[in-house]
Symmetry: C2
Subunit: 229 residues, 2 copies
DNA sequence: TCTTTTTCTTGACATAAGTCAAGGCAAAGA
DNA sequence: TCTTTGCCTTGACTTATGTCAAGAAAAAGA
């Protein structure tokens, strides 16, 4: 079993640090393991540090009083999460759960703040990470508030295709129920929209594989005319 | 006319800096003035620096292809905005407009990055600002996705009461149309909900003054039972 | 392989909230 | 003060999406 601290040198957040500095990072990191479905932290918990995914997949989400879930992020290998309380001193604003068996690196707050204080490159890197995340939230709010579900799905599929470097076919890395939660809807609605978009010959769905039949059609879903009908 | 650079020493972002450091800050700041309704920057513009409100009120917003507007933030005196591009190098993800005549301080990117590089207190302060903003977005996404409009309005009124330090009465600092946009809805819907909540004796509305008649009722709007009916 | 459990899909229905349109009110300017 | 302009309110209607329920398909386990 290989040393999971090796991941540190490949994490974008730690890019541009010297070997010495990377060793400092590794020194303060703790390894933690979570099974699929296990809670990593809950909203309201004190944030004593943040995490980096060494292996696995983690969802960050909120739950309404009626039990509906909204996923805020899904983080994979190399991505940090749970940093907000490190810098605000307040508790976690959302929940985190492993959606696959996961190895995580945990960075205790005080140690990390010490490190960042003497390390401008690291602090600029962290500022960039938080800024990118703000940008993503901006997009998510725009999607939730200004687009209907078909438009959100189309955007997500195009984003995935880009992410996966594939032109015309993507593979969902999460279940369709989870995708519904990420898009701010429920499985029934998502299912109907998959069916509708298939009818319209925009996509072809088989399990978690989705073929993008008409990319330019997808790009205009939800504009003036119909998104489906 | 007083020196608007005086504001620098009262901005939370610059808390804990020495007088020398505050002078450095003042040295790189530029004063800009915007009239009510004037655009400060637009989505897609390159971000050559960020702003701090010295006087006035600024809205950050997105617009859909159909023309619907979603306000992301409203910033008042002492609050910084437009920092994301400073640290990501990407263009602005949203638009900014003065909703009242405003004096702003502008901090050019390169100068500010130099400053932050040699100044751990400033960088931690900026990390705290971005983290707080992430937390706010978390709440906004939760509201948009997990609450109906009455629940969002109730939350906003309670938040405002807290903000204004008043127990049972608040004054809107923005128009009701703008409030609708902030809550992710349209003026017609907001107007109906104000009427409904008045009927239910939760609030009393007269112009921009709103009396919170039943705080505990407000807190439970949108839970199990009715939010209005 | 067969069974059990979860996830997904589809139908019938309810409802929150958007659209369109008209009128009333209030703030800004003459 | 009067007038003009934009903001707010209300009504009638449409529609996207949620709820409830049942069955089908797929995944996990025996």
């Amino acid at each position: 079993m290989k040393n999971i601290f090796e991941i540190v040198s490949t994490v974008p957040l730690f890019d541009g640090l010297s070997d010495d500095q990377l060793n400092e990072i590794k020194k303060i990191a703790l390894s933690k393991r979570f099974n699929k479905g296990e809670t990593i932290f809950s909203e309201g918990d004190p944030g004593n540090g943040f995490y980096v995914v060494a292996e696995g997949l983690v969802k960050i989400y909120k739950v309404s009083s009626e039990g509906k879930e909204q996923i805020l992020h899904i983080f994979g290998i190399g991505e940090p999460f749970g940093e907000v309380p490190v810098f605000t001193g307040q508790p976690f604003p959302a929940n985190a759960e492993a959606i696959a068996g996961s190895h995580l690196l945990f960075f205790p707050r005080a140690d990390f703040v010490d490190l960042i204080t003497g390390n401008p490159a690291l602090s600029l890197s962290m500022l960039a990470v938080l800024s990118m995340r703000l940008r993503q939230f901006t997009v998510q709010i725009e999607n939730l508030s200004l687009k209907e579900v078909p438009g959100r799905l189309a955007s997500y599929l195009l984003y995935l295709a880009d992410e996966q470097g594939k032109e015309d076919s993507v593979t969902l890395d999460i279940s369709k129920s989870q995708l519904a939660s990420l898009l701010g809807t429920i499985p029934e609605t998502l299912s109907r929209i998959f069916a509708k978009m298939t009818d319209m010959k925009l996509i072809e769905v088989s399990g978690r594989k989705i073929k993008l039949v008409d990319r330019s059609g997808l790009m205009h879903v939800g504009e003036h005319g119909k998104s489906g009908e």
